[in-house]
Symmetry: C5
Subunit: 367 residues, 5 copies
């Protein structure tokens, strides 16, 4: 492209804004820069500390106190809500000995899903998707999971999450989760994230089915617009969700000592679900393309009907008007005008013509 | 997407329902939750117990009596019909020492086809597809097959199935199936499932061919709608059927001791058929896309024809009407009106014009 | 899908026929069931028995006499024409010690191309394609080739085949084929089958080029229909032909003792050709899609032309008719009507308007 | 194709120009031929020479003085701006012992991104993309990076580049870059190039979103043209950017001694970003295709609306005009004309017809 | 398909010609059959014999004299022009000990690009593409290269070729080519072929850009036709060019003793270029598809404009004509006719209606 000659008259069609990436450009790698839209507010730290017998719950505690407890006899779930305070994140990172690149990706809400294995920990970035109760829109929340020796760190943007079920299982003393280690907790959180994708898929599926009915019933321009919005959302959801399949599959094949063989059996179940989700997304994509096709075909149909009405009305009445025009001429010598039955004969002829044209259109199945 | 600003006026285009997955969210993995629509009713247990010489048939027996008989000299086919009673399924699972994840997938009717190898058994989930005799619709029934040492467990939702042929071969003392082990029975059931896919494919093929004729003969809006329904069904059938190819291929390559080398020769035949089925589905997909294309082209054609009629009628009679209008004017001084042959000359001129336009349209091949 | 609610009014759009696969369902694997449409008639057995010096030809001999001769010093080509007599095929199978699954696929005309290696023989299924002299349609004949130690069995449906060249080379004492073994004969037959695919491709290519000319010259509805038929035939031919590439490639890599290293050099030539054929089919597919696109674009063009004629005629004569209508009004006080030159002035005004509109349409390049 | 017969009348549709590649044809490989459009001007050489303690900056120095300093205790960044002087480039190449093929690709601005590993150095070609401040167009600048033992050579076409951030980090004594070797500098430059791709992607994304709004608001022909330009730019940007993913991935897997294990951790971050970029480009491609689809659907809608107005106006007034025409006839015996209330009755009838047609179109939802 | 029932009325849409492959059918493999269109004429043999010091040039020599000189101290380039004389080709083949399959492919101008490694030589088939100076069409010439121990045989159809640059480098005593062996010559010829593909790509690119301008300026039916021709040419060029990438890549990985390690570095440059070429072809394909899309969108636009003119003219003048019609009625009692200002009032009303309709269409942005 080089420096392309500007096509005239098209400049006004192009937007001119500033880049949100500008702030990140040129920084050293590992620079912790929050990229999300949920600025402000302090981070909240909630902690579960449990084993088969005991459960300690610390709500809104400080990161210092978490770092102080290094009890190896517990599994600890550290839930950090709010990741816009970059200094705080760096403090956590130093406390747990995390690589700066890990911290950068923890707060980079544009980071695609990934799992990176480090010697002492496993780092995963995922997207929690859930339907906002109020707006019924799909919310996409960036979440980072870090599996350490007997701890799992969770970094999330908002207090809402999809872990309610996991929390209640942790609170239930007799649950399997209480008797297993941090890797099972890591799995359980990942499983909760993936399970929730089904809710989002169902939401998409219902919109597709609803649009399908609308396309048949009343294909307005708004319906076409909504189909395009749907297509775009399927694209975006696919982007957030589809890498998980590959990631989980690689995690199962990995030989990292932090993941036990027992937990891999459960991860295979997550893999199963991610395969299913990817297939669904592929089908939704094809279905939304079909929707647009059906919309266009219905539009053609409607146009056809409009044209038929016009053609029938015009083809019937234009010739009749011509005949009336003939006998509206003012020639001195027009014998028909003086016939006794001229007028009824004209009517008769016009009615015959009318019927003939009706039959013609009936035969063509346009009526 | 984050929390997207709501586009005004589009909210009404979106459905608002509750998720059927809500019940499953947050549960521990391995929780047995029936996801199908065939609720209620007790499970039926039918058993065939056979070897080369003897065949015992137990209809509507109990699972306890099945567990009691551990005769190693027989091959046993345990057929469990109705999987909505979760407690019962868990009882069966415990009796045969099955992993909770296996039970979960056994009753999860949304589970995609899969084969999981465990140390002591092989677990497969498939979709039985058959045409309902009454509605002529494709029925999709979830079925789970479990191959144990000398037993095959079958879990299905409804009494209807595709195993009639296998049953009659089991009853026939001299058949090959009677002299072979449980792995051959497992193969025979899988083969019956896959064989039946051909019936479903043929059903789809006939619908495609029927629609093809309709598209040429009378492309109404209903035909377009039916094409879209067909496309959607091909998509869904593909989803249920296409994983089987990969699964069988992996089963043939597996070294699980429960599958003998002899049986693998037969599995290769099943593989052959699944490849063929996948190719057919691909072709059906392309053919249904062609159908829509042909429909659109026929629509264009029809529109063209409508427009030609309108254009011909209007182009001929509007100029003629204009001429009649001329001699309907009331000017004091219009010499033509007083000519002796004014009126026939006007007619003559109009007829000439009419013929000239006819020739023009004839030349354009619009007539 | 489960048991879907029937959409009203669409039932009539669906065909209701019986499955041709019904007869095969539930049968044991290896059951020999002819699936083709060339029923009846006895099978014919023709035999060539040759080595570098001698050639014995047995026309319409019996299978018993073939089995009797076990002369190891000859290469034998057993050509069996007509495969609808299932008992006869089973007899041949037993005579040569073939697996029942081989026999099943030998007569299953729906079997896709395949090569299966057994310990003592190599079994291949292919589709012979040739243009029927009379109807100029593509004929697809199912053919099975079995390479035994020093024999090749050929099973075909009809007397017509693509082996005339191979036969004449066998009859020619000095040809290379006479000095080589059964594997070279197997290659020669496969080569003849693949060589003939080029004739079929050329037939398709000519139809594409012919349709291309038609689309430019006169895009009628029949042309669109013919394009769709062509697309469907390309799809079907692709299905019959395209697996050959993979099969031959695997045969070359195989280490089966019946295929000598010398013959593999020749098989590589067949592989070359199958790659070329697959590429051609891909191109034909894209070209037939282009044809439809061009057809639609020509349709749009024609519509545009029709609309221009209508618009020009209506836009010119409707205003003129209005003016004539004005002076056809019967008001008492219309001064123009009494002007001496009122009538010619009206004409003058109408002619000016006519010319102005002509210039307008000329400028728009619609004329 | 061979020598194809020229289709008449199409020749004028084909351009006839001279090839810019002509100059390169037939030359020996390794011939240094500048292919870009920024001819003329001398090359500028800027040098940074640094280690953890010291930084020497040489602006607009000569290549001879660079070659003279062979201080192994420094990392040296040699930035060569302007690559159109082929003799100069060959001099540099000889000075550093580079392969002629490397030099050829260094100045061949048509070279796609590549990384070639030589024994003593690693050679990379990339495209710097940035938005020109003035024209708001995407500028594509060819850049070659050569990693030698403790030197990095950078060849670029223009003084503008995306390395401002790297330069400021080099100037900052306490930055990580100062304490690491030439391989880290090589990474930092590559990272800067890739980071800037996000700015270009965002620019494309904004244009897509802007066009989306325009398509809904006012789908003029210019908008369609702009969509096509966008599609083309996405294609071109994809070509320049997408190979980077594969290149970086291979560099990470390479065992070249010049790349340390520490630097590979950082390269993995670049890999991450290139994956993300490729996914975005794929999505932009689909979105620009959707834009065109939406444009076409809006066009259809507009046409539909135009046709409805025409149909309603014509269908209402043509019949009314016919009635008026009837009573404009001049028959001697037309009783209605002499009725006292003939005229108001005619009006009444016409008004009734008018209302009936209005209701008809209202019912059809065309009004 | 079997023997399909002939659809009536479509037969005439199908061409009936004879196959050019018929001559090849049934022949033994290795039969040398020229498939090209440049029949007749004797083959010309030109020879370069050179080493670092000496160059012998033999123009229009005989093959016998070439075979006689077996000087191992020279690299020999044997250029054979004209391959339609099958006996001559077989003579050359025997002289150099070539496999009959090699000879068959040497003269089979339908052979796709390939490289086959034999024990004593490497055999390559390629397509030389160049723009014919006169017709400005792409010429495709079949060329076979055979690399023997210290000889390269070139078989080409016509005297024109793309090797002018290589010849002049051979003549130049100090060039690198003179000091290297036959494998470098083989590379140089392949490089010349591939370099010339860029000229063909540029030719295609210019046609695309030219058509782009035409599509915006004046989308006639000829433009659509030209787009389709372009699409077809891109398809064909892709077929001729795209295999080269894979072939060169395999040649680099091969361990054939005739290709030295030094020459592989140069082959990697050819590989680079073939990758680039394949990418360009992919982009050209997408761009030609975009062209057609843009054409269709412009057609829709034009139609829209036509319809707007019609709708405006008809919607304005049909109601006005109706009003004129009203006052052209001949009722005895029509008070308005006798009003003093009836006529101007009618005009006034009609002008008001005219203005109202103009404003209405202005508001709709149709004017
Ligand atoms: Mg360009
Ligand atoms: Mg950076
Ligand atoms: Mg980063
Ligand atoms: Mg949250
Ligand atoms: Mg789960
Ligand atoms: Mg599961
Ligand atoms: Mg956005
Ligand atoms: Mg769960
Ligand atoms: Mg599950
Ligand atoms: Mg059932
Ligand atoms: Mg079967
Ligand atoms: Mg079989
Ligand atoms: Mg399409
Ligand atoms: Mg069977
Ligand atoms: Mg079979
Ligand atoms: Mg036959
Ligand atoms: Mg052949
Ligand atoms: Mg060959
Ligand atoms: Mg051709
Ligand atoms: Mg070159
Ligand atoms: Mg180069
Ligand atoms: Mg620069
Ligand atoms: Mg970066
Ligand atoms: Mg990162
Ligand atoms: Mg059929
Ligand atoms: Mg042959
Ligand atoms: Mg050949
Ligand atoms: Mg030549
Ligand atoms: Mg080159
Ligand atoms: Mg190069
Ligand atoms: Mg398209």
């Amino acid at each position: 492209m080089g420096r392309p000659k500007k096509r005239k008259g098209l400049g006004k069609l192009r937007p001119q804004r500033k880049s949100k990436f500008e702030g990140k450009m040129g920084k050293a790698p590992g620079t912790v820069t929050y990229m999300g839209r949920r600025e402000g507010g302090e981070s909240i730290v909630n902690v579960f500390e449990y084993n088969g017998e005991v459960l300690h719950t610390y709500e809104r505690t400080t990161i210092e106190s978490v770092l102080a407890q290094k009890g190896d006899s517990y599994t600890t779930w550290v839930d950090i809500i709010g990741i816009s305070d970059e200094a705080f994140i760096e403090q956590v990172g130093k406390g747990f000995g995390l690589n700066p690149l890990v911290l950068e990706d923890t707060v980079n809400t544009h980071q695609r899903p990934k799992i990176d294995e480090y010697e002492d920990y496993i780092f995963g970035v995922f997207k929690m998707l859930y339907i906002d109760g109020e707006s019924q829109e799909i919310v996409c929340e960036h979440v980072a999971l870090i599996l350490l020796d007997n701890r799992v760190l969770v970094f999330q943007e908002l207090e809402d999450d999809v872990f309610a079920g996991v929390r209640s299982r942790v609170r239930n003393k007799s649950g399997r989760i209480r008797s297993r280690g941090a890797d099972y907790l890591f799995f359980a959180l990942l499983d909760a994230i993936v399970d929730n994708y089904f809710v989002v898929l169902e939401h998409l599926n219902e919109r597709i089915e609803h649009l399908e009915e609308l396309v048949y019933a009343n294909p307005t321009n708004e319906v076409a617009q909504e189909i395009q919005i749907l297509k775009k959302e399927v694209l975006k959801v696919r982007r957030w969700i589809s890498p998980v399949r590959e990631l989980v599959s690689r995690l199962i094949d990995s030989e990292h000592p932090l993941i036990s063989k027992d937990t891999k059996v459960f991860l295979r179940d997550v893999l199963d679900h991610s395969i299913e989700i990817n297939e669904s997304l592929q089908i939704y994509r094809e279905m939304s393309m079909s929707l647009m096709e059906m919309y266009m075909s219905n539009m053609s149909n409607k146009m056809n009907e409009v044209m038929k009405v016009l053609t029938i009305m015009a083809s019937i009445f234009i010739p009749l008007t011509f005949i009336a025009g003939i006998y509206g001429m003012n020639f001195d010598h027009m014998p028909e005008l003086h016939w006794k039955y001229g007028y009824p004969m004209a009517w008769g002829f016009m009615i015959l013509l009318f019927i003939a044209l009706l039959i013609y259109f009936k035969r063509k199945k346009w009526l």
